[in-house]
Symmetry: C2
Subunit: 202 residues, 2 copies
């Protein structure tokens, strides 16, 4: 049985990334797979690829997408409240994730879910280091160690490196899932991901 890990690239400010985050581990587990989570910064990805946010400057598409985030969440049975500030810079949350991952993978995963839900359910300002620290403390993380880590050159370099890796393998948006070299972009590719895992490719 193929048990190569699946890679899940996302930005903590991405609504469809949030929807994917609530499902991908369970779908992978059904087929004996684990998922490696990689928070990255869409601002860097967009700048490097020449891409833009999907609805950038297109008012009818922007209006549609706000409705689609919400409807897609209902369709997938995932709680969702439109954030009042959107999008937000997410480097603090991403650095915290990588630092925690170095200490305790399971705790890092718990933290990632908590950040996404803080943003897309509780309407918290996850760009703020204070909010990131608060979320981490609530799941048992030592506040001052994380506070130091958020500004450490190592964590800054790690996040930069993850963004560079994302670009190197062709990530252009969020969520971007890679299974054995096959890329799937968007939360709406979840049925194809499941079919791919079930059939070993199609």
């Amino acid at each position: 049985m193929n048990n190569n890990p699946i890679d899940f690239w996302f930005d903590f400010s991405s609504p469809y990334g949030y929807l994917m985050s609530e499902k991908i581990d369970a779908v992978a587990a059904k087929y004996g797979r684990k998922v490696r989570w990689h928070p990255v910064l869409l601002g860097i990805i967009f700048q490097a690829t020449g891409s833009r946010p999907p609805a950038d400057g297109i008012s009818s598409k922007g209006k549609y997408m706000l409705a689609d985030f919400h409807r897609s969440a209902r369709f997938m049975n995932i709680p969702y409240n439109p954030p009042s500030r959107f999008p937000l810079p997410t480097q603090n949350a991403a650095r915290a994730y990588y630092w925690l991952h170095g200490q305790d993978c399971a705790l890092a995963r718990q933290f990632a879910h908590a950040v996404y839900r803080a943003f897309f359910v509780a309407d918290r300002d996850i760009s703020s280091p204070e909010v990131v620290l608060e979320i981490a403390v609530q799941i048992g993380v030592d506040r001052s160690s994380l506070e130091t880590a958020l500004q450490s050159p190592e964590m800054k370099a790690r996040l930069k490196d993850e963004c560079a890796q994302a670009l190197a393998i062709g990530v252009f948006g969020s969520p971007h899932v890679v299974i054995d070299g096959e890329a799937f972009f968007g939360a709406d590719r979840l049925p194809q991901i499941e079919h791919w895992l079930a059939s070993g490719g199609f």
Copy 2:
């Protein structure tokens, strides 16, 4: 029972429009609904909205999308061969559709399927008036009447008017499906469309 018609907006050069075209009538019919097809010109839509083709200038996204067209077609059990010329202008095919629709709705639907399959299966150049006429003649259309219609001010005006209507209701890409005022963009929204029809909204 609600039997309001569903509106299906698309461009004959749109791969995801083609995928939707192969499924939407059957899905609608399961719930007692009919579909009104509206071929439009994405060039006009993009220009008016400030939108762009999804992978415009973004090489990693362009590469991904070519693979995704093909994989999505396999996933949906729809024949697909990547066209060698892509995208193509589709005003001749669209004008022919509207003219035929004025004569015989069922024949117009048959013609639309034939155009899409000519492009996405048989790799024909559907921008050419000759090819459009040939496709129409094969399903029994009178060649010289259609040839005249393709250049008629009435059909030019009709297509322009359909594009203006599309813009007025917020169409920004293809395929765009509207059910009782609710918009669904992309072939990947078909599961949501089906759930919407089954449940009367969610």
